[in-house]
């Protein structure tokens, strides 16, 4: 192995060598630089690999042949090697990225770059306090030099502010160093004795050293200077400044916190948390891309700092978690800064230029996912571990703050992503092959990192999970035509279904069928899509992968990872809709919020065990169980869009594409239902403050069922109507589930199946109509029954089924419902459910009437029937609905038996095709028989009498001896339930929308107000810095005494 010292030597040597070159030979200088950086990377990487494989042992390098404290020593262990590799590689890539500007400014700038990388590597490796100071000063000087690379003149001001602040920091650091030396008699970090916090000189010195280093990490709020640099510097340098400098400095901080003893850890935790929260909140108000990245950098580094403090006693675990976060952050942030170099304009919306190059969009998504801690990236495992640790130590407020801040961060990032996907850019992409290569290398590095990190986690390696890989497969396949991809996708789903059904209980089996096989069925509709349909299949299959994994998961980790997969996949899917940007954002925000509630719930339940089997939920300590229940339920209820947490749903479902709406409505909502099933199955009834939580769920279900239906009745947009109806239907299912009896669960199951079928069918039908009419507003349609008879039939069957009118399958649900409520003591919630029933007629009738009946409009007189591929699944659903209505036993009997084993009872008796309960009978075949017989008889009678009826046209109506004026004024459709609105319109009051808007506005307002704090004046920044130091000192001393 070559000596790690060569990293420093190579950097310095090359920098000197550059000085020997002629001014004109920039090209040579650049190659020398790249070669030096390459060599440094090579050395660092080779050490990393060898250390990781255990081929070499960590080494200490003693300079001047003396041991500390008489000389400086450097250390090369696995963490050092890894981080040095990260730094060197980012340096190398940034050099390539900045090629043009480096050449423009000549060899001096390259030398400065080399010195910077060298100094960063030194900072990582050194074990000497003063040496640390020297490297930091070198970094400051080099950074200030590189800031000048930018062609933005504002960078000058930023650089100077940076220097001012650095001066202050260096004063603090030097004083700290000298007094620490005075106290310990050595400058070697390893010799520094653990110092208790207190009003002693040694403590103050330690504090100064620590705070000075922490200040280098740009802690909130003493970080205005750094943000200015991020905003104005060359993106290549910003990448270095954020990724490499941040990484190296953080490691230095870690070293010192390790040395200073456990007393100081809370300092890091506190500052880290404040920074993480503050930076993310303030980022909400940003619309400048690079400044947003700056905020995000600050926040991420704050997060790692928090981990450093919080996990001070984790040993290797700390390196795993913090390292994962840090390297992810480095890669993602570098990648994003490089990307920002390709985006010419600076507004967030200008990132839409990336759409010119789909590969870059994938890279962008990768980086965002890495930062937000989504699977399979290391930050995901880190988040998992961190939250579990917090739960283990019962630091619940900390956990809450952390999760909320993480949520805000995700919201910020996804808001940006949404803008990039949906808005229009003002300037085209500044495309450059080498730039793209650099970005793609970063992206690849991110995936490789995940691949490496996964197996270390002690859980499954999420990158290699088959469904996930299958989803990823569609990234390269995206060049194929959509139809071929569709065939592959359907085949994949079917194969996965066939191979994974073994050993599942009937309940999971049904959910798996709905989610995977149902997905395959719905994908039939996707055959309608023409062209390539880029970016559809990966998210779709990601969502299905998540659902397939969800149902088969056994541990909380698998469950949560699957949950995140399906959330992210569905987010991308929803985002594809034409006007779905705000809705997709609110979807991902709510979903991630729900997911974090799940995470917290699982973590609390696990009590420090990182692997937690779902079935152990039943054995959670009784004092924790109610809280676990609340958190998990909140997570699942977000997904099922229970009233109050529902505001994301209508927009998301309504604005999604034709074949996506049924997926996210018919299938995705079932994920939440499945979660609730698992929850109540494992945890049963829980009481919090004497309130039975399942009763709360019953009420929530009833309220959702009722209000959802009322709101649906007031919609003008057909898909919104269906979306609200989903809320209502899920309310029923939740209600049944929370009744906590056999029939209640069967009811929920029945609703799961039925809702999947008829909601998918209706969404497809309405989507098919929209394909032809290009509108979702029902009052613009009318009279389409003759033009789209098949769609009409499917809507007709759908609404009869959904309204619960015999003989279709919705009636079965109602029948089970009545039998279920007979055995419960809860009575008052029934009122709402009873009220919800007839309201269902309102919106259902409106749906079918205003679209298919009434007066056809001029411009829609010639529309064609919905496309074949959109109709095909509908017809399959129609057939299924009729079969299921006649023979419900074919599915329900097994489920009934299974639920019977859980409750140990048998309320339903299946005799042949007759179902008897303790209270009544349901004989579907007889119902069908009687109804069909009567219907056919009456129909024949009518045909016999009226066979010669004259077919008339739309205006041949009696109109008080007048004639209609125009179809538009004759079609009664808009505000269809005006009388109902007059009476019950008060229920439309947007209580939860106002609440969530208020929360969002408050956050934005806070951010908008608080960011004024960064005045832009260098002196103010310095004052803030000093005040920050004093405040931290006072607080920490106050806390310690």
């Amino acid at each position: 192995m070559v000596s790690p010292l060569l990293i420093l030597v190579a950097g310095l040597g090359a920098a000197f060598l550059l000085g020997l070159l002629r001014d004109t030979s920039e090209r040579v200088a650049f190659y020398v630089t790249v070669a030096a950086l390459g060599f440094m990377s090579f050395v660092a990487l080779s050490w990393t690999v060898s250390l990781a494989l255990g081929q070499v042992q960590p080494v200490d390098i003693y300079t001047a042949d003396a041991r500390p404290p008489f000389a400086i020593n450097l250390r090369m262990g696995l963490p050092e090697a890894t981080l040095a590799s990260v730094v060197a590689l980012i340096g190398l890539l940034s050099a390539v990225f900045m090629r043009r500007d480096l050449m423009r400014l000549g060899r001096q700038s390259m030398a400065v770059l080399l010195v910077l990388i060298m100094a960063l590597s030194g900072l990582i490796m050194t074990r000497d306090l003063f040496n640390l100071f020297v490297f930091i000063e070198l970094i400051v000087i080099a950074s200030a030099g590189l800031v000048l690379l930018s062609q933005d003149t504002r960078a000058l001001g930023a650089g100077f502010k940076y220097l001012i602040v650095s001066q202050v920091i260096s004063i603090l650091l030097l004083i700290g160093v000298i007094f620490t030396y005075h106290a310990n008699g050595s400058l070697n970090i390893d010799d520094i004795a653990a110092t208790p916090m207190g009003f002693t000189g040694a403590s103050l010195a330690m504090f100064l050293v620590l705070i000075a280093l922490v200040l280098e990490l740009k802690p909130f709020p003493a970080n205005g200077w750094a943000l200015d640099i991020y905003e104005s510097a060359h993106p290549g340098f910003s990448a270095l400044f954020s990724a490499a400098s941040g990484t190296a400095t953080l490691f230095a901080v870690l070293k010192l916190f390790e040395a200073s003893g456990p007393d100081w850890a809370p300092l890091a935790t506190g500052i880290g948390l404040v920074t993480f929260v503050g930076a993310n909140v303030l980022a909400l108000a940003q619309d400048h891309g690079r400044r947003l990245l700056g905020y995000s950098s600050v926040g991420q580094i704050g997060l790692v700092l928090m981990v450093v403090g919080y996990g001070a006693d984790w040993g290797v675990g700390l390196y795993y978690v913090a390292g994962g976060l840090l390297i992810s952050h480095a890669i993602a942030k570098a990648g994003l800064f490089w990307l920002s170099g390709m985006v010419k304009a600076r507004q967030l919306t200008d990132w839409a230029a990336l759409r010119q190059n789909p590969v870059l969009v994938v890279a962008f998504a990768t980086f965002i996912a890495m930062l937000s801690g989504l699977p399979p990236f290391p930050a995901f495992y880190a988040k998992w571990t961190l939250v579990h640790a917090m739960a283990e130590y019962a630091d619940y407020p900390l956990m809450a703050i952390f999760l909320i801040a993480a949520l805000i961060e995700a919201a910020v990032l996804f808001r940006w992503f949404g803008m990039a996907i949906k808005r229009e850019a003002t300037l085209p992409l500044a495309y450059n092959l080498s730039h793209e290569t650099v970005v793609l290398i970063a992206m690849t590095a991110g995936w490789v990192l995940s691949f490496v990190w996964g197996p270390l986690s002690g859980f499954d390696n999420l990158v290699t999970v088959v469904p996930f890989l299958f989803a990823l497969l569609f990234l390269p396949l995206d060049i194929l035509p959509a139809r071929i991809k569709n065939v592959i996708a359907i085949a994949g789903l079917v194969v996965w279904y066939v191979t994974s059904t073994g050993g599942l209980d009937p309940l999971r089996m049904i959910f798996l069928t709905i989610m995977v096989l149902g997905g395959a069925l719905l994908l039939l509709a996707s055959f309608h899509a023409k062209g390539r349909r880029m970016g559809f299949y990966t998210p779709a299959m990601l969502m299905f992968a998540g659902m397939a994994l969800l149902v088969t998961s056994t541990t909380s980790f698998q469950f949560f990872a699957a949950w995140e997969f399906l959330t992210v996949g569905s987010y991308f899917l929803i985002l594809r809709g034409a006007n779905s940007e705000p809705h997709a954002l609110s979807y991902i925000t709510f979903s991630l919020g729900g997911a974090f509630a799940l995470l917290a719930g699982f973590a609390i339940a696990a009590e420090g065990h990182y692997t937690f089997y779902l079935e152990d939920l039943s054995e959670v300590a009784p004092e924790l169980a109610p809280y676990v229940f609340v958190l998990l339920a909140a997570g699942f209820l977000t997904k099922t869009a229970t009233m109050g947490l529902h505001i994301w749903l209508p927009g998301a479902h309504a604005e999604a594409e034709t074949d996506v709406s049924p997926m996210v409505s018919g299938i995705l909502l079932k994920a939440g239902l499945f979660g609730l099933f698992v929850l109540v199955m494992e945890m049963g009834r829980q009481e919090l403050y004497g309130v039975d939580l399942t009763v709360v769920l019953v009420w929530l279900g009833a309220i959702s069922a009722f209000i959802g239906a009322v709101l649906a009745a007031f919609q003008e947009d057909a898909k919104r109507l269906l979306a609200y109806s989903s809320i209502s239907q899920m309310g029923y299912a939740l209600f049944g589930l929370a009744l906590m009896n056999h029939l209640g669960w069967l009811l929920a199951m029945m609703f799961a199946i039925n809702h999947f079928v008829y909601k998918s069918m209706l969404f497809l039908a309405v989507g098919g109509v929209k394909e032809r009419t290009h509108t979702k507003l029902m009052y613009k349609m009318g009279g389409l029954i003759t033009l789209m008879p098949y769609s009409f039939v499917s809507v007709l069957v759908g609404i009869i089924a959904m309204s619960g009118v015999p003989p279709l399958s919705g009636f079965g649900g109602r029948w089970i419902f009545y039998n279920a409520i007979m055995t419960t003591d809860l009575r008052l919630p029934m009122i709402l459910i009873f009220m919800a029933g007839p309201v269902g007629f309102l919106y259902l009738f409106r749906l079918i009437h205003t679209i298919f009946l009434g007066q056809p409009k001029d411009e829609l007189r010639k529309v064609k029937e919905a496309p074949f591929w959109i109709l095909l699944p509908q017809m399959i659903f129609v057939a299924f609905l009729i079969a299921f209505a006649a023979l419900p036993g074919m599915i329900l009997q097994r489920v009934d038996g299974y639920i019977g084993t859980l409750f140990g009872d048998r309320p339903l008796v299946w005799t042949g095709r007759i179902i008897d309960s303790q209270y009544g009978t349901w004989n579907p075949v007889a119902i069908w028989g009687v109804i069909i017989a009567v219907f056919v008889t009456v129909l024949l009678l009518l045909v016999w009498m009226n066979h010669n009826a004259q077919r008339v046209k739309q205006f041949n109506i009696v109109f008080s001896a007048e004639r209609p004026f125009k179809p538009q004024t004759t079609h009664f459709a808009w505000n269809f339930f005006a009388p109902y609105r007059k009476a019950m319109g008060f229920l439309e009051m947007p209580v939860s929308t106002s609440f969530w808007t208020g929360v969002s506005n408050a956050l934005h307002g806070t951010a908008e107000f608080a960011r004024k704090f960064y005045t832009g004046n260098g002196q103010t920044y310095a004052v803030q810095l000093l005040l920050f130091v004093i405040a931290v000192y006072l607080i920490s001393m106050g806390a310690s005494s």
Binding site: V134, L174, I178, R1011, K1012, Y1014, N1017, L1026
Partner: protein
Amino acid sequence: MNLVQISLATGFLLILLGLYGALTNRDILRMIVSFTIADTGVNVVLVAVGYLPGREAPILDTIPVAEAASRITDPVPQALVLTAIVIGLGVTALMLAYAYRLFRARGSLDISEFTELKW
């Protein structure tokens, strides 16, 4: 008050003076000068911490190596001071360079005028 305390006090006084100057003067050049003063203060503190009464400077030419450990003052702070001075010089030079370029670019040396980057 012994010499150490006096120099320490002086050092800190200089630091505070420098910081005060740097944070109250809007003129960039004055700020730079103030920082130099603060740097000097730090250096004085450094030296003062390493000073041991009654000992000699750690120059081994005049002192036998064998006795060095008991006769010289602590050499480390002195070494540190040297390095710190060099670095301080570097930073000061860089700041001056910045001041020059700022003046060239903007025609002003008032720090409060470079606030176009904010929020």
